[in-house]
């Protein structure tokens, strides 16, 4: 990742992450550039995140990390389009989150690999934990591949906290709430931004 020109969206993404319900963004990533996006949605707001990324120059890269935590009747919607238009581009996406209360979450992630985009590498992961019966998560990953020399994968899961892990920890004296917090933080660890660990931990404890 060291050679490309780095586009830093952090300086502007955070303010609108916290102040607006909805964001629609289109990014065009040129040859050799690297785009890094990070989204954090914490309890207390509903959010629509709608991102389209065009990898239009050879060797362009885009990496998305997103974390959501929601409760009550909050709604969080992700719509991500990763469009590989040029050869040799590389994209990764990892979106992990936890839904409690009667929150509703949707994830719609599409990877499109254009006919000219040979030697594409594109990966997408979306993992979700639902804490309550009323929380709902819908995940819809989609791959549209029109080139033949590509490496693509996607993985999507919706699950619950592992009860065996929970009992194991409790049997050693870790209180149930603490054990759940440890489990949730470990689930989120791939997407927790550096420096925001305490803030995220506090939000997890509030679920």
């Amino acid at each position: 990742m060291g050679h490309g020109k780095y586009i830093d969206p952090f300086c502007h993404s955070d303010p609108f992450c916290h102040s607006e319900r909805s964001e629609e963004s289109l990014y065009r990533v040129q040859a050799g550039e690297v785009l890094n996006l990070q989204f954090v949605v914490l309890p207390g707001e509903s959010r629509d995140i709608d991102v389209s990324i065009d990898l239009i120059g050879p060797g362009a890269q885009a990496h998305i990390k997103a974390l959501y935590l929601c409760k009550a009747d909050e709604k969080v919607n992700f719509r991500i389009l990763m469009h590989h238009r040029a050869p040799g581009c590389h994209s990764t996406q990892i979106i992990n989150g936890i839904a409690g209360g009667s929150a509703q979450v949707t994830f719609h992630g599409t990877i499109v690999v254009a006919p000219d985009a040979q030697q594409t590498e594109a990966y997408q992961e979306n993992h979700n934990i639902v804490l309550t019966e009323d929380a709902k998560v819908q995940t819809k990953p989609q791959l549209e591949i029109y080139a033949d020399d590509v490496k693509c994968s996607h993985g999507a899961t919706v699950g619950q906290l592992n009860e065996d892990e929970l009992f194991y920890m409790r049997s050693r004296g870790v209180p149930e709430a603490e054990a759940r917090t440890l489990q949730m933080l470990s689930f989120l660890s791939p997407v927790i931004p550096e420096g925001r660990e305490n803030e995220i931990e506090k939000a997890v404890r509030s679920l």
Binding site: F167, Q183, S189
Partner: protein, 247 residues
């Protein structure tokens, strides 16, 4: 003076199936009891019920621990009161290190007893000492709990946690299964090091090997949800040569 553990007429079901059909078992301070029995006898159900694993229903009977109703306590409260189960199949916890896990466990127990949290340095020193006792390499402290561990490493990790938590009543559920002789000796040495006039243990096994190294005071035969025979160590040899069919 109370007995440490008094199980009276314990019946337990899983789903609709009755697994324990009237267990009576009393354990005094300092005693090591072996519970032996064939597969499906209810051995693991007994350990699950003692530690409060969800999914088991007690339909009849009682368990007193230090004179108090054990069944009324949550799994963590049982741990704070000095109960420990070495799991037959230790659970992997991806993303949680042994250090983070044990620090949470040790400090929760201290808090329950009105003690201040251990300072990180003191905790790490204690952990290192107990890991050395079961010959776990120091780098395991940073490993995720049981993730990628061999069978022997998982069992040693159980005994390490047992040593660290310093329980009053330890339950070893098939701790010997899947261990080679060297690992078995390490585990046995760890268990023997914890023996004292106040501390008791229940060793659940269908196999005599561990009992050669950790000698029990009392041996029970559990079969079809009941204790069908109680005796001394001579029972181990009888089972070894003649099996469980005679009981």
């Amino acid at each position: 003076m109370h007995k440490l553990l008094e199980i009276h007429n314990l019946h337990a079901t899983v789903g609709d199936k009755e697994i324990l059909k009237g267990i009576d078992l009393t354990i005094g301070p300092g005693e090591v009891h072996a519970v032996m029995g064939p597969n499906g006898a209810g051995k693991s159900t007994l350990s699950a019920v003692l530690t409060g694993r969800p999914g088991y229903e007690i339909t009849e009977g009682s368990i007193l621990y230090k004179g108090e109703d054990l069944l009324a306590k949550s799994p963590e409260e049982r741990a704070w009161a000095g109960l420990f189960l070495s799991f037959q199949y230790p659970i992997e916890i991806p993303g949680v290190t042994i250090t983070a896990f044990m620090k949470a466990a040790v400090n929760a127990k201290r808090k329950a007893h009105g003690l201040p949290e251990l300072k990180t340095g003191d905790f790490l020193k204690l952990m290192k000492e107990k890991m050395a006792m079961v010959q776990m390499k120091p780098e395991f402290a940073k490993r995720e709990v049981n993730v990628g561990f061999s069978g022997g490493e998982k069992k040693r990790n159980e005994i390490f946690q047992m040593a660290l938590l310093d329980p009053t009543l330890s339950i070893l559920d098939e701790t010997d299964s899947g261990l080679d002789v060297d690992a078995l000796k390490i585990v046995a040495d760890g268990v023997n090091a914890l023996r004292s006039p106040e501390k008791s243990a229940i060793i659940i096994t269908h196999y005599h090997k561990l009992l050669e190294y950790v000698q029990p005071d009392v041996v029970h035969v559990l079969k079809d949800g009941r204790i069908v025979k109680t005796g001394g160590r001579e029972l181990i040899d009888i089972i070894e040569t003649q099996g469980f069919d005679q009981f």
